[in-house]
């Protein structure tokens, strides 16, 4: 009896921890079906209305659209710049490596409020009008280091002999990059891009300092929080959650399928 209880301690603990982690998600999801009026504080009955007419609530879809736009543009820019740096850091030896590593590390070690205020001061000094453009500039900045870290690991695991084999088989440097290096780095680059999009899409603090009057989805929720957030926001949040989970599960299942395939080789 004592033994079986000891064996169950960890699984039980994990179960409780997961319940704790999932409570707000379940809550948000459940209240996206609430037949609420302006605010979404008390349960008033079940409805699909908020899902089917999500854009009816003023501002929700515009803010969501802005966030997607900002997320996509920042992700593309940050992923391109970060991948280049990652390749340089792993594949080449040069002076100032330590300084460059420090420069890449610092944005990750700086509180968002400092990054946001700093950039806002910069824009203020230069007399730049805040808007979508300044938000994108800010997002590329804080996503860049995360991209470098993620892609670096992948570059380090890529055997340079494969690129040499490409050269040996008549591929010029450009062809070597696009036919060998890039496809082999792709899983790392894709992971970095997903991370980057997630960071950008959910960022509030830095965005708030550099948005001017432009709305993003987190800013919409923040502004609405004082009066009460409408159920439509829960719909968007839940939909994004489901999409993200599906992507993660699909990658995992795909990875598992590949692993199984390799196991039954020969």
């Amino acid at each position: 009896m004592r033994l079986s209880l000891g064996k169950l301690t960890f699984p039980l603990y994990a179960l409780l921890a997961f319940i704790y982690l999932l409570i707000p998600i379940v809550y948000t999801f459940a209240f996206s079906f609430n037949d609420s009026l302006k605010t979404n504080l008390i349960w008033r009955g079940f409805t699909f209305d908020k899902w089917t007419n999500v854009c009816q609530r003023e501002g929700v879809c515009e803010a969501f659209g802005n966030s997607v736009l900002i997320g996509v543009v920042s992700t593309v820019a940050a992923t391109a710049l970060g991948t280049m740096i990652a390749i340089a850091l792993v594949r080449y030896r040069f002076k100032f490596r330590r300084s460059i590593n420090l420069l890449l590390f610092l944005p990750m070690a700086t509180p968002e409020v400092v990054l946001g205020a700093g950039l806002a001061s910069q824009f203020f000094n230069l007399g730049v009008q805040k808007g979508i453009g300044t938000i994108i500039v800010a997002h590329v900045m804080f996503c860049l280091s995360f991209v470098v870290v993620t892609v670096k690991a992948r570059v380090a695991s890529l055997d340079p002999v494969l690129e040499e084999a490409g050269k040996d088989l008549y591929a010029n440097p450009r062809q070597v990059f696009w036919k060998i290096t890039f496809p082999l780095l792709l899983p790392g680059i894709a992971a970095a891009a997903l991370l980057s999009f997630a960071l950008s899409f959910d960022d509030f603090i830095i965005t708030n300092f550099n948005a001017g009057s432009e709305m993003t989805f987190p800013r919409y929720v923040y502004t609405a929080a004082a009066r009460g957030v409408p159920a439509e926001a829960n719909v968007i949040g839940s939909a994004v959650f489901i999409a993200a989970i599906l992507i993660v599960l699909a990658t995992q299942i795909n990875g598992e399928r590949k692993r199984r395939m390799l196991l039954k080789k020969h």
Binding site: L81, I87, Y92, V113, V114, G118, Q122, M141, S157
Partner: protein, 304 residues
């Protein structure tokens, strides 16, 4: 993975370093120039603004370049309680997150090793909170603990809370929210280092007559140190600068305002840019000293 950012990474020997050349410059220049323009110079701009003085001929929000060191003494005297609150909340929340995460990470990384699919599934659950908006999940807790919720009324009925006492707006609620929101940042690096832990060391430990608690203290804990360092930094830094959980519209009240709230209010609401900037510089400085000391002590040389 990005969450291993703070732990040391051993370069693997397969990649052979090549010579420097134009290629390196072409690869590095755009990204580094970007960070120079939008990370480094803003920090300088921040320092410059923090030293500005009120324009004697201008109105509110008009400042002129100056070298007003006094700004720093003013914000320190005025906002010392907020600074203290920020760092004590961050410390408590980080410790709580560590205590909650460690057994979970241990279960996923060590105990569940025979079941790789289950491991992956549990990891997905750990990062699941990332996929729902930070603000929405914080608001969810606010409503779960709202004054009218059954949790609070039950607490009041049983006498654990006075009839006029509530949960939202208290330091407890803010620390609760901070802990919850940043747990994944703690669990993932812990998992990464525990997952690599060779269980043969543990067996060797118990083989040498060490009790389970001794094995943990002498073997498991030291071997998972990189994860603990990485996790505490990844948790502590964003918490120290956070202003959503402590905001009156979310889990806090004016009595729980942290440094982030003060910076936000000074910068975006009352346009006192020098004070906000001075506070930001102080926060950044404190964090940098902390990180440098921590990294030096733990010997994580290669930061990225």
């Amino acid at each position: 993975m990005a969450f291993a950012a703070f732990s040391s990474t051993k370069s693997n020997g397969t990649s052979k370093p090549k010579k420097t050349g134009r290629v390196v410059i072409a690869l590095l220049a755009p990204g580094l120039a970007y960070l120079g323009a939008f990370f480094l110079t803003p920090l300088i701009a921040l320092i410059m603004v923090s030293l500005q003085a009120q324009d004697p001929y201008g109105g509110i929000g008009d400042y002129i370049p100056a070298f007003e060191i006094n700004n720093y003494f003013l914000v320190i005297t005025e906002y010392f309680p907020h600074m203290f609150r920020s760092f004590s909340y961050a410390l408590i929340a980080t410790i709580l997150a560590l205590l909650i995460s460690y057994p979970l990470a241990y279960f996923i990384g060590v105990k569940a090793r025979p079941y790789p699919l289950l491991q992956k599934l549990m990891l997905t659950l750990v990062i699941a909170p990332f996929f729902i908006s930070f603000l929405l999940r914080t608001l969810a807790w606010k409503q779960i603990f709202s004054n009218e919720s059954w949790i609070v009324t039950t607490l009041q009925d049983t006498g654990l809370l006075e009839a006029d006492q509530y949960v939202v707006g208290t330091p407890f609620m803010v620390i609760f929210g901070l802990t919850y929101n940043f747990i994944p940042f703690m669990t993932l690096p812990l998992y990464t280092s525990l997952e690599r832990l060779d269980t043969r060391y543990l067996e060797a430990g118990s083989d040498l007559y060490a009790s389970p608690s001794k094995v943990f203290r002498k073997v498991t804990l030291p071997l998972s140190m990189p994860g603990i360092i990485s996790g505490t930094l990844l948790t502590f830094i964003p918490i120290a600068g956070d202003y959503i959980n402590a905001s009156g519209d979310f889990l806090g009240s004016s009595s729980t305002a942290m440094l982030g709230n003060v910076i936000e209010a000074n910068y975006l609401q009352i346009n006192d840019y020098p004070s906000a900037s001075a506070l930001s510089v102080l926060l950044m400085g404190a964090i940098l000293i902390l990180v440098a000391g921590y990294v030096k002590k733990s010997g994580t040389e290669d930061l990225l």
